[in-house]
Amino acid sequence: MITQLTVHALVEQFRRGAATPSAAARAYLDRIAAVDPSVRAYITVTPERALAAAAAADARWRAGRPLSPIDGVPIAVKDLLCTKGVRTTCGSRILEHFVPPYDATVIERLEAAGTVLLGKTNMDEFAMGSSTEHSAFFATRNPWDLARVPGGSSGGSGAAVAADLAAAALGSDTGGSIRQPAAFTGTVGLKPTYGRVSRYGLVAFASSLDQIGPFAKDVIDAALVLRVIAGRDPLDSTSADVPAPDFVAELGRPIEGLRLGVPQEYFVEGMDPEVEASVREAIEVLKRLGGRAEPISLPTTDYALAAYYLIAPAEASSNLARYDGVKYGSRAAGARDVIDMSSKTRAQGFGPEVKRRIMLGTYALSAGYYEAYYGKAQKVRTLVRRDFDAAFARVDVIVAPTTPNLPFKHGEKEDPLAMYLNDVLTIPVNLAGLPGVSVRCGFSLAGLPIGLQFIGRPFDEATLLRAAHAYEQATGWQTRRPPLP
């Protein structure tokens, strides 16, 4: 089946003339029609746009002039990336009918590379959540077990790639929102270095933490997509002027002698024994490949989550102030005045988790609490960064679990704090602005995927992906498929 192919295998077929982008797009659209009613990865599917883009790609491949190494590849994007003329909801009622007048920079870059947009994927509202249950529209299901969550907030993108409903996808990661759903869906999920990818046109959650990155079926595919979306953008002043190397060319190099740090604090008390066993075994595999594993300490890890739940909500409370019912989004009826209009609009338009974070952030920033909460959290952020700086003086890459637990059941984590604790191993990377990737490293006895996390130095995605690729190639985990038609 063409939908099971990796991006690089699919493109090889385009090159040889064994398949066309149009045939691939039709196969994916057919599969979405057949399978997505049970997975529910997509909020919006864009068949006309996809088929038109695919037909143009057909002509380029026929002429032997593809626009890029991923020309004609069918891709899904998280529904918080602005797409001109295509509804962008952010998983929220308040943006249910919002149609952006412009494309995000990553969308422009994907289109300039010739890729085919299949549609927009489901997410926790405004990217706040770890299960995609906080979408205002519906919950996405985990392709490996439909009774379980796919993780979040980019759960739709992870599920789409795992269920072969897209060849690759984009998500965003503020505290783990790419890596955690990648672990839960058994896909490769890469959060690039902060500043590696332009955030222009990404609906903002926490601007100092948000970063866009790919979901893929393997590490080569993630590297191919990263190459296209990376790079400086004049429209995002935080995008870094750092050259993007040919990440794919770097992958073939061996990892002999690579120094791998294993942080003791990431093997937390209460972690699932099946997760721990798989990750420990993965480290043995890396050692057999010539990696030199050594224990390291990241002592501030235990405090990172608490700092994050002040910093991210504080930034969110400011970013989400724009939803006031004036310029775009919904507006509540029957208001007495402008303030009443905004208060009612926001009460009706936001779900409970978004309200909770706005309240928490506003509280942390308010007079009398600013120093004790927000100021303190910013100092802890410095300590988290220093932990990593010290570690990377001794090791090249850090290896750890992506999550302490296996995918949980829908409705299992009703308590907000229990849901937050799920991100304990992904959040420090965002606070420090580092790149991180999750790859499949085994399955539980019940057949649920387990994620292995690699963390790298700033702008050293090349080494990060090389280690992840070497591991992936040495194991056979990628061949197993979810129990779907």
């Binding site: 870094a240 209009m341 009460a347 309240m359 303190k376 100092k379 802890v380």
Partner: protein, 98 residues
């Protein structure tokens, strides 16, 4: 442990955040914020004396560009998502009394 945040504080923060909350929502919000702040209180145990704050992970200085005019979106496109409008204006409830 509880009592970190009181109902009147919830009401004050909700006013600042422009969020209308029902009585039931206020009480649930108070309980949940109290529990979350209880967890966050662990930060007090960490000594941060003399540690500078970090607001951004990647150090950056001001990014400047040439001051050149560029096209912007036409008013019709900017207004297309407005919940209420009048000509080329966003319409809102009256702010200033007669």
């Amino acid at each position: 442990m509880g009592g970190r945040i009181e109902t009147r504080e919830v009401e004050q923060v909700a006013r600042l955040a422009r969020l209308e909350l029902s009585a039931e929502e206020k009480e649930r919000m108070r309980e949940q914020l109290d529990r979350i702040l209880g967890y966050i209180d662990k930060l007090r145990r960490l000594d941060t004396e003399g540690v500078p704050p970090t607001s951004h992970a990647v150090p950056m200085v001001n990014v400047m560009r040439e001051d050149e005019p560029r096209p912007c979106l036409p008013p019709q496109e900017m207004l297309a998502n407005a919940p209420d409008r009048s000509g080329d204006f966003f319409r809102v409830p009256r702010i200033i009394e007669d």
